[in-house]
Symmetry: C2
Subunit: 239 residues, 2 copies
């Protein structure tokens, strides 16, 4: 590690993929729904398709093509298209809304909660996610994620990697960027945060995109910390 960890006051976390395993969670809920409703759907393809809409949807907001729209609503716009594409019919509005909120019910990676509990003793733990506040609060409540603050894109009204998302989160915590360490399984997120002066911690999540993942398999740069998981991150940060 190239930095003095006592200079860091807050850890700011990417959530989807870094803290929670969105793909397995979507497949789990999709399969249960499929059994209950007699649907013939490849739920891993459905999950990948849903996440495939993610960056293009965010880009429409970032570019100004559409006004600020929270992630729950972007998820729903994508879901409506996916249901047609996968030939899913016969769901009520309540069932579709419940399915859309599967993103509020994602399971954490097995090391996430015990790692966060250790890290919380020494650092302020804040989300710095593109998820909206309600999504992240409901997820934390269900999964036991011990955040000190739920911040990120929605309070900044800018999606990562736009600098406002990172800067607003640090500002709200009353901290300089160098007092914050961005924790993410994604090199691009760390690059954007690092460019603004955040410290950086890469955490390996080699199966976020399933068994044939091709991206973010290794750190692309010499980040301040490179950790196997959140337990290893806690060890390296002296927690």
């Amino acid at each position: 590690m190239t930095i003095d960890p006592t200079s860091v006051k807050a850890l700011t976390f990417d959530v989807f993929g870094t803290v929670v395993d969105w793909r397995s969670s979507l497949v789990r809920e999709g399969e249960a729904l499929g059994r209950a409703k007699g649907l013939k759907v490849s739920w891993s393809a459905f999950a990948d398709g849903w996440r495939g809409f993610y960056q293009p949807m965010l880009e429409r907001v970032r570019s100004g093509a559409i006004p600020w729209t929270k992630l729950d609503d972007l998820h729903r716009m994508a879901l409506d298209q996916l249901l047609v594409q996968f030939g899913v019919v016969g769901l009520t509005e309540d069932e579709i809304d419940h399915l859309n909120r599967v993103w509020h019910r994602l399971d954490p990676w097995h090391d996430a909660v015990p790692g966060l509990v250790r890290l919380k003793r020494k650092f302020i733990l804040a989300t710095l996610s593109n998820g909206n506040v309600a999504l992240l609060v409901n997820m934390a409540k269900r999964a036991g994620l011990p955040w000190d603050a739920v911040l990120g894109a929605e309070v900044a009204r800018h999606y990562k990697p736009q600098p406002e998302a990172y800067r607003t989160t640090a500002d709200l915590l009353g901290l300089a960027p160098a007092q914050c360490m961005m924790v993410a399984a994604h090199n691009g997120d760390l690059a954007a945060a690092g460019a603004l002066g955040f410290r950086t911690a890469f955490v390996h999540r080699r199966t976020e995109h399933g068994p044939t993942q091709m991206t973010d398999l290794r750190p692309a740069r010499d980040w301040d910390v490179v950790a196997e998981d959140f337990i290893d991150l806690a060890e390296q940060l002296g927690c």
Copy 2:
């Protein structure tokens, strides 16, 4: 109680006076500083003076006389005047900044933490305070206040009782006002929240302003819940 508590998803809390005992905490820290620096100051008068600046300062922001200014900075503007008024000299900039941050180090009322721990099992617990996020996060970290979300004036950029402070907090939680219950020791705060459709809980804090308190000694209206303290609130809400 006039409402079905299962319709309420989140409790939104006023903090200064309702959760924490700002006056005793200011007096405690002031007296310690006075002993260390040989200052002859009535710290209860100093505390009351500091809080006396509160509404006039907020009103300058609410009226648009000055642009959005976070509470830490309003506290500092008031403190600089108070130090002159009370003849306090010889403090370094670091000492003045530390004194200004006494608001981050306020002690909770003795029932607050055990009450919140019980309430957290059933409800989302969010701040809906005029305190800025950093102040509230640091206070919670020190005092063990188990918030699910730290929201309120700063994320809305409007100070209570302006409606935007309440509405933005409910919106960020993804809830309708009627799914939120405002918890406060101040009738005015409950009146503003209630007018927007929030449920209301009055908690008695008869010594917030010291032994001769004249205001908010009793509920001014038939609020949805009237509680002696946070333990009683938890009991009444079935936690």
